[in-house]
Symmetry: T
Amino acid sequence: MSTHTYKHIELTGSSEKGIEEAVQSALAKASETIHNLRWFEVTDTRGHIEDGRVAHWQVTIKVGFTLE
Amino acid sequence: MSTHTYKHIELTGSSEKGIEEAVQSALAKASETIHNLRWFEVTDTRGHIEDGRVAHWQVTIKVGFTLE
Amino acid sequence: MSTHTYKHIELTGSSEKGIEEAVQSALAKASETIHNLRWFEVTDTRGHIEDGRVAHWQVTIKVGFTLE
Amino acid sequence: MSTHTYKHIELTGSSEKGIEEAVQSALAKASETIHNLRWFEVTDTRGHIEDGRVAHWQVTIKVGFTLE
Amino acid sequence: MSTHTYKHIELTGSSEKGIEEAVQSALAKASETIHNLRWFEVTDTRGHIEDGRVAHWQVTIKVGFTLE
Amino acid sequence: MSTHTYKHIELTGSSEKGIEEAVQSALAKASETIHNLRWFEVTDTRGHIEDGRVAHWQVTIKVGFTLE
Amino acid sequence: MSTHTYKHIELTGSSEKGIEEAVQSALAKASETIHNLRWFEVTDTRGHIEDGRVAHWQVTIKVGFTLE
Amino acid sequence: MSTHTYKHIELTGSSEKGIEEAVQSALAKASETIHNLRWFEVTDTRGHIEDGRVAHWQVTIKVGFTLE
Amino acid sequence: MSTHTYKHIELTGSSEKGIEEAVQSALAKASETIHNLRWFEVTDTRGHIEDGRVAHWQVTIKVGFTLE
Amino acid sequence: MSTHTYKHIELTGSSEKGIEEAVQSALAKASETIHNLRWFEVTDTRGHIEDGRVAHWQVTIKVGFTLE
Amino acid sequence: MSTHTYKHIELTGSSEKGIEEAVQSALAKASETIHNLRWFEVTDTRGHIEDGRVAHWQVTIKVGFTLE
Amino acid sequence: MSTHTYKHIELTGSSEKGIEEAVQSALAKASETIHNLRWFEVTDTRGHIEDGRVAHWQVTIKVGFTLE
């Protein structure tokens, strides 16, 4: 929240368990190559259905990180 | 994701426990009469409050299924 | 859902655990001073990231209560 | 507002008199075949003009009913 | 609804009585100079308050007419 | 419309008769404690259905007033 | 555009060729069981990609028909 | 993209063939009276259905032109 | 804010200096031919970039004026 | 950005000079009675026109503060 | 639609012929450097006008691809 | 505005002085690594408050550049 410049990217993570884990999964993948991840915002919550149940939660997030 | 035609319906499921269970509850009810449910998108997350706590989570989803 | 007048306020609650707990946290704080909380709607789901993981979930809700 | 599952449908009712009567007209038609209508939300208010005056009000509503 | 080209304009009409009369008032004014008004859509419903009551309803509409 | 600062609050009024009366009802309640109400904007028009008819109109408005 | 009541449903049609054919495909499927289809509105245009090219166009439409 | 002032108008063109031709049709009509049309943006894609097929595509565009 | 009818038009003004001047520039151009301009609302703020700097600010406004 | 609960209010500030000063003016008024103001978001930028020029900029902001 | 993480990027492709070709053009350019493009969504359809006709269609798409 | 393909990225720049400088700051940072920046659109204007005054303006922009 200082005078840095931030860049935002949009990711979709997925999980068989739920929304929170799908977000963590996307962040874990992104942090392999991007450091300085600061915040995220959920922009879409979807899922794939098999046999009348949620097979995968698919959560789209906008993620902000510091440009250095 | 093939050349089928899909129809979308909108449902609200509820649960005392949380968002994921409210979605599963709506899908379970819909799958009693509709087969081929394929995907869903959360369009609204609301709830009913009693004594300063969430009494019921009420989650609205758009659900897509194959027209055969 | 009767002929009462309702007022809506907007709050952001936070939690290290997840979305549901962040909502409960905001409602617990609001119910210290406002009685007759009736319903809420989630309007934004964000979070703060530390070390590539969600440090705090921050969930914004619109809350309705009866004006007496 | 209990643990039921709700389904939503979208209708457009019309009236020469005004908005409220157009809504009542759509509900009257829907209640011929669907019981347990619970709530509605106005999503669009349009009309047809003849000779510089409103000939028909056309009001679109989303209607929720209990799945039993 | 044929192969004509339509132009849309945006107007705000006002009335001390209510929403329908504010729309009719805007259409009456527009039809002084534009013929072939065909349809309208309400895009905003506002009002001015005096002494805790609505003094004027101000309804904004998009109006379509045939280009000849 | 001068250099004052305005605050906005959001209210839902209800009425068995129609939209205009639901708005007036919310304003009447608000003006018991807030003076200087200046304008409102309708943000949501909903209702409760009983026996296939509108039992209560529930209209949500944003109301602006002068901070003194 | 008369005093009928209309119902709206949402469909996704697909085509390997383009947007117009995907819409026609959804309408052809819907008209097998619903008569009196009157109008549609495109609400989403998506597609599936294979080998860097559009494999299927998937166009979502809202379709209105007369309730009789 | 210089320091000119632009004005925007909204038009709906129609075509029996498809979206592109409906846009060209609206632009052809507008250019009879307005010169310096510079850009457009599609804001709505609708159509009229007859016998289960699209009878007319109706595409609404916002068009910008230079004020001289 | 009386019982007049208002018409709204949409303009884009530009400036090398900033947002406020781009708005003033569009109003100055519009007031050459339209009197009774009353209010505006900013609907889009864009710009053209040259050599990594803003070359022109381009601000789109909706402007309301009294129909007489 | 810790585990506090935040409340959001909506204000409109005005200024003869420009957008930034209108925001500062609303914050100055709000800080007379509310401490712990943390952030704001601009949600609407409007203005009042006199003699073809902006007489007052009117900027609406959502302001967040810590509930203690 | 499995447990992969997806990244989304936004592109604008252009074509003198029409919407479909503008999308294909953007995908062809993107697939030079990104493999695993999976889906796209059209988010904006614009164009440049010369002599009262569409000179270039410019279609903006959001494209999703698998992060490996 | 020719037949190039454009890519869009989203950045947040900040400034103690105002909106224009926050945009310039984000563009200056982006132009260190990306050439051919062509246009931007402001999508969010926020700020951080200290002692009842704006400490930093934080302006989010979508920036388009040519893919070569």
